[in-house]
């Protein structure tokens, strides 16, 4: 026998003596299981079986469970094994094992097949859209109530949120938009130079940053930075039943938690867009000067000619709408978090992905709108 260190078998006149020895504990459970299975399959139909546990030094649940398996497999074929030598301190454990394991195990959790998942996801997308519209309604209604009773507005909470999503976001926004401005200018000069049109880089950067890129980059950054934070905050509040606590105290969670966050974003995003656009232009100006030899004076003069108030307005008008989208998606996802950590992660991801997707779609719709009204 290969596992003689744990089980040795002695067969005489169809009477089987199975002697256990050593430590029947978790460390050796793997070997013991093989030994048990080998013994049972080798000696499937003996006339009588005697199991001697006198030499088993230690036993834990693992050993006891495998002992039970050994006993049961012979019992199933109609042989009642005789057990001897069981140390008294293990009798309770063995009895316990005899009691358990009688129930059939439950069916395993079923995983969805690919088509089934596809179907579910499709239904989910529709449900998501409905939930989003619902939530927009709830938020607007809550804001309306706040307007009717201005005293119920949580001003402190909003200022606090404004500090977190606005003021504290300034350094990273400035840095990123500055770098983007630099890259735009460098690429523009590098490619335009071949046509001798370096100076047009100022027009390109000015229009691009003020109309599109400034607001888009900032919105995407904020969706990643603050939208995810909103979702995670509200999600963990939901997991700890804080949202339910608010509700039973007679407060509307949308009014208390969502409205201040939403307003803070709507105020912060245009300001950050302005700061971001300026920082982008600064980056572009510095690179044009250092890399393209366009002096700041020339840059500014050219910029004045290239852009007008409309370009600036187009960018700024979009900002609050994008902010509202990010805020609503983030808060909605937060309030839909279920009980598990995994669900919190899934909804935070969904919040950022959906917010960025909607921001870009919205930018496209605005582009068509502004083209139609000649702005």
């Amino acid at each position: 026998m290969p596992h003689a260190s744990l089980i040795s078998v002695h067969s005489q006149d169809d009477l089987l003596t199975v002697a256990g020895r050593g430590a029947w504990t978790s460390e050796y459970a793997d070997e013991l299981e093989q030994a048990v299975d080998d013994t049972v399959s080798t000696y499937a139909h003996p006339k009588g079986v005697e199991i001697d546990l006198a030499a088993v030094e230690r036993m834990d649940t693992f050993g006891a469970l495998l002992f039970e398996r050994l006993k049961r497999s012979w019992k199933d074929s109609g042989i009642e094994p005789q057990v001897k030598g069981l140390a008294p301190r293990y009798t309770v454990l063995i009895e316990e094992m005899g009691r358990t394991g009688q129930e059939p195990p439950p069916p395993a959790r079923r995983h969805e097949a690919i088509l089934e998942r596809f179907g579910h996801e499709t239904v989910n997308v529709a449900a998501d859209a409905a939930a989003l519209l619902n939530f927009v309604g709830a938020s607007v209604a809550a804001m309306g109530r706040v307007l009717l009773r201005p005293r119920s507005f949580r001003f402190t909470a909003m200022v606090n949120q404004l500090d977190r999503v606005g003021f504290r976001a300034v350094p990273i926004i400035v840095l990123i938009t500055f770098l983007i401005g630099c890259i735009l200018a460098q690429q523009g000069i590098f490619n335009f130079r071949r046509f001798g049109a370096d100076i047009y880089v100022v027009d390109m950067v000015g229009v691009l940053v003020l109309r599109e890129l400034g607001v888009l980059i900032v919105a995407i950054m904020i969706a990643g930075r603050s939208g995810s934070a909103y979702t995670a905050e509200l999600g963990s509040m939901r997991m700890r039943e804080e949202i339910d606590a608010l509700r039973v105290m007679g407060f509307d969670p949308v009014e208390v938690l969502v409205v201040p966050r939403l307003l803070a974003l709507i105020i912060a995003l245009p300001l950050l867009t302005f700061i971001g656009s300026m920082s982008s232009l600064l980056g572009a100006g510095l690179v044009s000067w250092g890399y393209g030899g366009i002096t700041p004076e020339v840059f500014l003069n050219r910029l004045k000619g290239a852009i007008d108030m409309d370009q600036f307005n187009v960018g700024m008008i979009k900002a609050p709408f994008m902010a509202a989208t990010i805020g609503i998606v983030a808060c909605l996802e937060g309030l839909r978090v279920g009980g598990s950590a995994e669900s919190l992660g899934a909804h935070t991801t969904a919040s950022v992905v959906k917010a960025i997707f909607l921001v870009i779609v919205m930018d496209g719709v605005f582009a068509m709108f502004f083209a139609a009204i000649d702005m």
Binding site: D30, E33, T61, F62, T100, E103, P105, P106, S340
Partner: protein, 268 residues
């Protein structure tokens, strides 16, 4: 042992201390929570640990477990000083204790069965069949039905979570079990069952149990010995009778208050 000398104190000195906390100081910032605290837990006993709310009961548990840094003092478990252990020795030692956290701390993204199998998979090489059998056995041992095995923690009630978490803490057949307020949040019947369960498991598996509790019923029914914490020190330890005889004002209030009297009245 000679019957004439078997007072509690002397009997203790002859028993093997499985956890030995010596001269421990733990604090956060300016606040000192545990102030030169000493405590021994002996092999095979159920020690109930009581103390004021926020008095450092959980802090002591967490200090023994190594989750909270201590300023000075030593913690010996199985006769080994935890500070002297290498990483490997330490993780080998950690396999020999199980912890039931107050809220269960089940992994929320795993099913109950996967939760129980998690330490098994990490530490042992077992066949899938044995893993499943062990999980079902542990689930039944803590008094749950097998069909919870495939449920997620969020689908369980508070009492079931406690039991499932207990099953996970017992997964590797530990020698020491730490319980942080095991009966809090359970109804009296559930709490009584849980006490019974801990007693049964302790006898079945030969466990040593360190139980932080506020439940006077648990203290009366399952604890072999009680230690009381106040002002950062263990102010008294002994059997429930010893505790009742103590003169310390907090202990008198605790063991002779209205709730305590109700428990005693019910016991008579």
């Amino acid at each position: 042992m000679d019957a004439r000398t078997s007072t509690t104190a002397e009997a203790d000195s002859h028993r093997e201390a499985i956890i030995s906390v010596h001269d421990i100081v733990v604090g956060f910032g300016d606040r000192v929570i545990l102030n030169h605290l000493d405590l021994d837990v002996y092999r095979g006993e159920i020690l109930g640990f009581v103390g004021t709310s926020g008095g450092g009961k959980s802090v002591l548990t967490r200090t023994i477990l190594g989750l909270v840094p201590k300023r000075s003092g030593t913690v010996e478990v199985f006769g080994q000083n935890l500070d002297d252990l290498s990483e490997r020795e330490r993780s080998a030692l950690e396999r020999r204790w199980g912890v039931l956290f107050q809220q269960g701390a089940l992994f929320s993204s795993l099913t109950v069965k996967q939760n129980i199998q998690f330490p098994l998979r990490e530490n042992l090489r077992l066949s899938q069949r044995l893993l499943d059998e062990i999980a079902y056995t542990k689930i039944e041992m803590v008094g749950l039905k097998c069909d919870v095995a495939e449920k997620l923690p969020s689908e369980l009630s508070g009492g079931m979570i406690k039991r499932a978490a207990l099953a996970r803490s017992l997964a590797l057949d530990p020698e020491i079990l730490f319980l942080d307020e095991p009966t809090s949040g359970l109804d009296p019947i559930g709490a009584g069952d849980f006490d019974e369960l801990i007693r049964t498991l302790q006898q079945t598996l030969g466990l040593t149990v360190f139980m932080v509790t506020h439940d006077l019923d648990s203290l009366h029914t399952v604890c072999d010995r009680i230690a009381a914490l106040a002002d950062g020190k263990v102010i008294a330890q002994g059997t429930i009778e010893d505790m009742m005889a103590q003169q310390h004002p907090w202990l008198r209030a605790y063991f002779h208050g209205t709730r305590a009297r109700a428990v005693q009245g019910a016991r008579r």
